[in-house]
Amino acid sequence: MDFNRIKEKLNILADAAKYDVSCSSSGSNRKNKDNGLGDTGNGICHTYTEDGRCVSLLKILLTNHCIFDCAYCVTRKSNDIQRAAFKIQEVVDLTINFYRRNYIEGLFLSSGIFKSADHTMERLIAVAKKLREEENFNGYIHLKSIPGASDELMYEAGLYADRLSVNIEIPTISGLKLLAPDKKHEDFIKPMLKVKNEIIRYKEESKIIKSTAKYAPAGQSTQMIVGATGESDKDIMYSATHFYKNYQMKRVYYSGYVPISTDSRLPSLGSEVPMLRENRLYQTDWLLRFYGFSVNEILDTDNPNLDMDIDPKLMWALRNLNHFPVDINKAEPRMLARIPGIGMGSVHKIISGRKYRRLSWEHLKKMGIALNRAKYFIICNSSDWERRDLDAATIKGMILQSQNSKFKNQYNNQLSLFN
């Protein structure tokens, strides 16, 4: 193997793949087979990049040659960059050798689209097939569904991959028309729909016939770029909800747009990556998936955007003070989960702990609850609680004063006089 040539390709094709934020390696049920190599489990981050993101999979493009010219994409046809392509065997060797050294949980393979969607998809499948059948590799494989790929290929892809994903990238159809004129919305939806239906079929059949061949056991996911087309948080979260509901997505990822182009349709080079906004969107995503919120409770026409200076749960609570205070020792779990400053872990501790005795401030503090936020919304076994009838703005002010956020400079619009 020519290591120098491989190194060059790896640098180019890893660099181009890094804007895909998904790096999850959990959720599959593939086990080691016949004393072969690898298994899957809860997912492991084997290291973290210097920007603090988890590295769990070898995330590369098969090639960055592409026939499309999407404005937001670094590998777009018109961009003057170095191009490279891996041979199938090269990707297989890299994956196996990285895996054996415990660097990675598996492979995340994406690609620029060369010749046609089907031709590209076929090559991706060939890599996965080789890993599974020739190397008896049972680690995690995430393949990209290429927009416009045929149903037959999407079926085959799911037989080898643990997860499939197609990135919708632009949350609104009008935005897509503007930035990726040669791509059609239906091209994204078609493979997504096929995968969804196959997953349903697999789940049904495997209930009856245990030996049914696995089909994408870790489900499918998608990604949206945030801050490229002037979309609102409502646009993003409503469209995320649509994908969770109608395509049974395992995950929707939000990727703050990193300026890579001088195109006038996009934020200019050097503008800041909207990391705080990205963070607030993920918090909202969690509220929808784990905390029993529905999206219209948090975002609607009157409130199309999330507050940057407070988290979305606190934002909701301040708009709905009539639900509070909540009695920690009596409230139902679903109401406990809605108190700002209390996570699901703390909810379980409270429910377990209150069987033994009535909980007081002291107990809650030791359990690790963020009392600086929670204290305005709860009563517990203590006569000492917030009795003043405070309005939302006052509570917000007091909470903001009590915490020192690392993001403060990002949402503080007021100019400071002395610096």
Binding site: N11, D39, Y356, H363
Partner: protein
């Protein structure tokens, strides 16, 4: 009897459980259980040497397990923390558990319970870290070799994970701090001790023990690590929080930074 007594055990988990059994037998409200060789007895304290008895250990294990599966895991994990005084903490924890009417529920409002829970949590995190940070290097004898230096004694906890995953390659994971390791010979995992002259961390200098291709792959991996970073999002604080500096010398992607 309500006396305090020092029970000395051999350092093994079964030895400890035997000591717990004896403690319960003598109805000790406070058991001072200590490892042999680390004995710190009070001037007038009575000591008793405990001989490990699998049967007695098993009875304690089963007794706890019947109460709660989480508890048995917490006890084993907390034991592996090797923390000062964890024996007394666990003894109290078991006492509480056996006296409790609530099956399964954990009393998070109790300081001792919370403490054991936190200890177990820390050990669990270290276990997970070693599953993530162990870096194998291929020796010329065709064995994948990794040195680790975990904060707690987690080798017994990670054995199964690596056995299930790397079933078709020989591997050794060696704890340089506790001077023992695991060796998988394609059939079973055995405990070994080695006479290591130097620690094989992922240093820049090459060792003749490893294959030539080994260093090529390390180089590729380091390159990958660099090119997958997004420069406009650098966040070193977060990076170090996830990959604490004390592990860097064993990670090939960080060897230049050490």
């Amino acid at each position: 009897m309500n006396a305090s007594k020092t029970l000395v055990y051999d350092g093994s988990f079964n030895g400890f459980l035997t000591a717990v059994f004896i403690g319960f037998e003598h109805k000790l409200t406070h058991a001072d259980i200590q490892k042999q060789g680390q004995l710190q007895s009070g001037l007038f304290a009575e000591t008793e040497t405990i001989f490990t008895n699998i049967e007695k250990a098993q009875r304690v294990w089963n007794g706890v397990r019947n109460k709660s599966n989480t508890a048995i895991k917490n006890i084993y994990f907390a034991f592996l923390s090797e923390q000062n005084n964890m024996e007394a903490l666990i003894y109290r924890y078991i006492q509480k558990l056996m006296g409790s009417k609530h099956k399964g529920a954990t009393d998070f409002s109790d300081d001792g319970v919370l403490k054991i829970n936190q200890l177990a949590h820390k050990v669990g995190r270290e276990k997970h870290r070693m599953e993530a940070f162990a870096r194998f290097q291929l020796t010329k004898d065709d064995v994948y070799f990794a040195n680790i230096e975990p904060d707690f004694d987690v080798l017994p906890l990670i054995s199964k994970h690596f056995r299930n995953r790397y079933a078709d390659q020989q591997w050794i994971i060696y704890d340089v701090k506790r001077k023992y390791g695991l060796f998988y010979d394609l059939n079973t995992v055995e405990i070994i001790s080695l006479d290591l002259t130097d620690i094989h961390s992922n240093s820049i200098e090459k060792s003749s023990a490893f294959t030539e291709a080994e260093y090529e792959y390390q180089d590729l991996w380091n390159n990958y690590f660099k090119s997958t970073t997004i420069k406009s999002r650098i966040n070193n604080k977060l990076h170090v929080q996830h990959v604490p500096k004390r592990y860097w010398k064993y990670l090939s992607e960080k060897k230049e930074a050490v």
